[in-house]
């Protein structure tokens, strides 16, 4: 049994919230560079060049990459041989988010009750998903999830008869209907299978994968390539002003499902995609 103080979780999350909101990840920068090289639309290339310039200014001058610094979605893989001491885990996570958003001059974007809409003032509570895993490590992944793209995400309970074509059609239609609103070019997370809520969680978790890294499953990787082709044929383009690059990558995560079901969830992330990970 290894001991990890709750304070270590807080400190790590504080730093991670600040880092991902100011420093665009290498995989995301590379994806934007590739898009800039491939884009045929003049205004599309202008938008992509500005996104790269924005990333440089954010990093060098300490401006957040985007003013929507997101809901802090925390994925925790907690080793079963870890004993967290000196506080409860949810509070430790919330305190890390609170410090990160306050001390990092990040926007408080969370309201207490969905209908009363009082801002909590410190971007807490975090959204937390925990898995108990073998080992004595704590892996914390954070997604600073913007709302504009989350709002355009969709879930469908398809039938087995809908099959692969039904999945391709639903995912492509979701992006077509979202149009310019989710701030393309997008990172598209697709959750396939499981149950109603599991599909949505798979779609969100798919966003944690390095941008453009194909699924290790050959079938899923082929589906990702097909979906990307269909999405980039839509013509929506960078900023939605028209162009070839509407998505930078499609990541598909699958799970066994019921004989009667074919759940598919599409979670969109914008051209300011911010994700990061730390292992304690």
């Amino acid at each position: 049994m290894r001991t990890v103080p709750a304070e270590a979780i807080t400190a790590a999350l504080r730093d991670l919230c600040i880092t991902i909101n100011h420093r665009m990840s290498a995989d995301m920068l590379a994806a934007l560079e590739r898009a800039h090289a491939a884009e045929e639309s003049e205004i599309g290339r202008t938008v992509l060049a500005r996104l790269l310039e924005n990333a440089r200014v954010a990093r060098e001058e300490w401006f957040p990459i985007c003013q929507d610094t997101g809901t802090a979605v925390v994925f925790m893989d907690l080793g079963q041989d870890v004993h967290v001491t000196g506080g409860d885990i949810q509070s430790a996570i919330d305190e890390g988010v609170r410090r990160g958003y306050r001390e990092g001059y990040l926007r408080a974007s969370v309201v207490r009750a969905p209908l009363d809409r009082q801002n909590t003032g410190d971007n807490t509570p975090a959204i937390v998903y925990t898995r108990i895993v073998p080992g004595d490590r704590v892996t914390l992944s954070v997604l600073a999830k913007g709302a504009g793209c989350d709002n355009m995400s969709r879930l469908a309970m398809l039938t087995p008869a809908d099959g692969r074509d039904g999945v391709v059609d639903f995912v492509t239609r979701t992006i077509a209907e979202a149009g310019p609103n989710p701030s393309p070019p997008l990172v598209v997370g697709v959750g396939l299978g499981g149950t109603f809520e599991q599909a949505a969680l798979l779609a969100k978790r798919a966003l944690l994968r390095p941008v453009g890294a194909p699924s290790p499953d050959p079938g899923a990787a082929a589906l990702e390539a097909e979906l990307l082709r269909h999405i980039n044929d839509l013509g929506i383009g960078p900023g939605g002003f028209g162009g070839r690059i509407t998505a930078l990558a499609v990541h598909v995560e699958q799970h066994p499902t019921h004989i009667a079901s074919l759940p598919v969830a599409v979670n969109l992330d914008c051209h300011s995609h911010r994700a990061g990970q730390v292992v304690l």
């Binding site: 990459i65 974007s109 801002n119 002003f241 028209g242």
Partner: protein, 183 residues
């Protein structure tokens, strides 16, 4: 294409000359307002109350900026999704607002109001929020301070880059751009 430099508030002739897809650099005063501020403004208009700030002829920017670091007027300041303001925009255009800055498509009712009142809807790129924040010379909260990031800020901007999304002639950059590249 070279961007057109314009001073705010925009003259009717400036708006008339703009077409969907034109790149524009705005300099002068613009006002931020997003969901919660719109709800209040339109409620005040409906009940005949005076608005806390005179918006006639002005441009509203759908933006909730990040907090300013010490020594700066503002943090990052990109646009939010404009369609959430669609239920309120026609009433504000009727009240005299002449420009809006946001991202994403507008409803048929808003596009119709843009034509009727000779207004313009500009798109900015959300992922350039740091660059947009750097264009802000000064910022002060002029209404609804209790709303935090959603308060109405009076911004003075310099060469703030936008694209004409919906012009007063019925042009729509999103429809036109997509049609060109759809396969």
């Amino acid at each position: 294409m070279n961007p057109t430099a314009l001073k705010t508030p925009l003259a009717p002739a400036d708006i008339e000359r703009l077409h969907a897809g034109d790149e524009v650099l705005l300099s002068g005063v613009i006002y931020t307002a997003r969901d919660a501020a719109h709800e209040r403004l339109v409620r005040m208009i409906a009940s005949g109350d005076p608005l806390p700030v005179d918006l006639s002829g002005e441009i509203i920017y759908y933006c909730g900026p990040t907090p300013a670091r010490p020594g700066r007027p503002i943090g990052s300041a990109g646009p939010t999704t404009a369609s959430r303001m669609d239920p309120y925009a026609p009433a504000l255009l009727e009240h005299g607002v002449r420009g809006m800055i946001g991202k994403g498509r507008r409803s048929a009712a808003v596009k119709d109001a843009i034509r009727r009142f000779g207004a313009v809807y500009f798109a900015a790129v959300e992922g350039t929020a740091a660059l947009l924040g750097r264009c802000v010379r000064s910022a002060e909260i002029v209404a609804f301070p209790d709303l935090g990031a959603e308060a109405i800020h009076r911004l003075v901007v310099e060469r703030f880059p936008v694209v004409v999304a919906n012009d007063c002639h019925g042009g729509d950059v999103y429809d036109e751009g997509r049609a060109k590249f759809r396969r």
